[in-house]
């Protein structure tokens, strides 16, 4: 009995040591699990906040689009009509032909500017003829306004997929508008090339320039000053399009890809 006791005690000692170790490990594991739970919660909070911000941005963009639409209609229907009426009224004025021609020219230029502005705010061609003609028309207008830059457009306009709604087309149009605007403002480019492809599978736009190359970082996109980049980001999120920036030598290549819902499901 006496000889048995030490070995039993030894076992007890090992069990005790193990128990102490396990107890400490349990406390540490509890802290680790607690931290992981907290981190998960924090992640969920961040995601919720992000979703809320996205919804807010989308709501702002929708409101902006609505307001632009209202102003465009006002410009086209109200001011445009008034100017046309004014132009017609010149016929009855007791002035000579040179003065009438001068007045007519002045009013015609103003009508053109109002139309252009109205068109920029609400591209009616987008609604009437679709995305590709609207983008072509935009580039055409810009190439007339900005003579220092050489524009080129290559387009393939096949029938679109039914999931390419008006909102999607408008979103893509606005992104292209913003991208070209950015090139004209900052890139100091002399050439802008646009390749457009629309078909049943979706839309792919490749925009290249020969200016100062620029790839926006995540921070750039989030900066409150970079409103244009923010808009591009928000709009691409809204329509679930992907934008890829690539640095060229010289210039930048931007690829915008919007996949139709069926294509997305297939690739998934």
């Amino acid at each position: 009995m006496d000889q048995q006791a030490p070995s039993n005690l030894g076992l007890l000692l090992i069990i005790g040591t193990l128990a102490m170790f396990i107890m400490s490990l349990s406390i540490i594991m509890f802290a680790v699990l607690y931290q992981q739970k907290m981190r998960r919660k924090r992640q969920e909070m961040i995601q919720l906040e992000l979703n809320y911000k996205n919804e807010l941005v989308h709501a702002v963009l929708d409101a902006k689009e609505l307001e632009q639409r209202r102003i465009a209609i006002e410009l086209h229907d109200d001011i445009g009509s008034s100017l046309t009426a004014l132009k017609l009224s010149f016929a009855s004025l007791p002035i000579n032909d040179d003065e009438r021609r001068l007045l007519n020219e002045g009013v015609q230029i103003t009508i053109g500017k109002v139309r252009s502005l109205s068109n920029r705010l609400l591209p009616s061609i987008l609604e009437e003829l679709g995305l590709i003609p609207a983008v072509k028309s935009l580039v055409n207008t810009l190439s007339q306004q900005v003579q220092s830059v050489k524009f080129s457009v290559i387009a393939a306009n096949d029938p679109k997929h039914e999931s390419q709604t008006r909102e999607v087309s408008l979103g893509i149009y606005r992104i292209i508008q913003e991208l070209i605007n950015n090139i004209l403002k900052y890139a100091e480019a002399t050439e802008i090339n646009l390749v457009l492809e629309q078909n049943e599978e979706g839309v792919v736009i490749v925009l290249t320039d020969n200016g100062k190359g620029f790839i926006p970082t995540k921070e750039d996109k989030l900066k409150s000053q970079s409103l244009g980049l923010k808009n591009i980001e928000s709009r691409s999120q809204q329509i679930q399009a992907e934008i890829d920036y690539e640095l060229l030598n010289p210039g930048t290549k931007v690829t915008l890809t919007w996949q139709a819902i069926e294509t997305k499901l297939e690739s998934a």
Partner: protein
């Protein structure tokens, strides 16, 4: 047993070598420097203890001195982790109490005997600091990745280290006398030495994650 001891000495190469490299590169923050000094101190104690034992000189007094370091270093590591003044004061009081109790018991103890009571005091104090740190973490709702936080790793390793060897240290005199059986001391010695290697790897990891990133 000597083979094992050499392995244990070698395992100090990881934290000390890595700490030295980071120190030279000026990438060690304050906590990392203190941890590196702590590791260096531990290695010195191990070496001196080994040399003394090899020459037949009693080395148990060295463990008594070492236990003071076991009270000081965790206090330096975690003192700044407490945001409330009250908590810091409590920690200070606990530290003073632990030092006083260790000194008083040392005065009445035989310096050439194993420091069992002092080990218990050190364990209670370390457990108090680490658990207080965890409580502070819960209270402040600090959110971080525990596997990438130097304080958390350090706290866990120190706490595990003390808990794992507490019974062995407290009952060391009984183990030596063969009260628990003849083979048990050898088993526990091996386990303890293996755990030191494991802790050293974790200390190296703590040093690695504490480093400054080059700018």
């Amino acid at each position: 047993m000597e083979g094992w001891e050499y392995v244990v000495f070698s395992s100090y190469i990881f934290p000390i070598g890595m700490g030295l490299a980071l120190l030279i590169q000026k990438r060690l923050p304050f906590i990392g420097k203190i941890l590196w000094v702590y590791m260096l101190f531990r290695l010195c104690v191990e070496i001196v203890s080994f040399i003394l034992a090899r020459n037949g000189i009693n080395n148990l007094w060295l463990y008594r001195v070492y236990l003071y370091a076991e009270l000081v270093f965790p206090s330096i590591f975690f003192f700044n982790q407490f945001s409330r003044k009250g908590n810091r004061l409590l920690l200070l009081i606990a530290f003073v109490l632990a030092i006083t109790l260790t000194t008083l018991t040392n005065l009445f103890d035989n310096w050439l005997a194993h420091a069992s009571v002092q080990t218990g005091i050190a364990f209670v104090y370390v457990a108090f600091i680490i658990i207080s740190y965890f409580v502070e973490m819960f209270r402040m709702e600090k959110v971080f990745n525990p596997f990438k936080d130097v304080y958390f790793i350090l706290g866990a390793v120190i706490f595990l280290g003390h808990s794992g060897s507490l019974i062995y240290d407290v009952l060391y005199n009984y183990l030596i006398s063969g009260y628990f059986g003849s083979g048990i001391l050898s088993i526990l010695n091996k386990v303890n030495l293996s755990l030191i290697i494991f802790y050293n790897v974790l200390y190296s990891y703590a040093l690695w994650i504490s480093r400054h990133h080059p700018t």
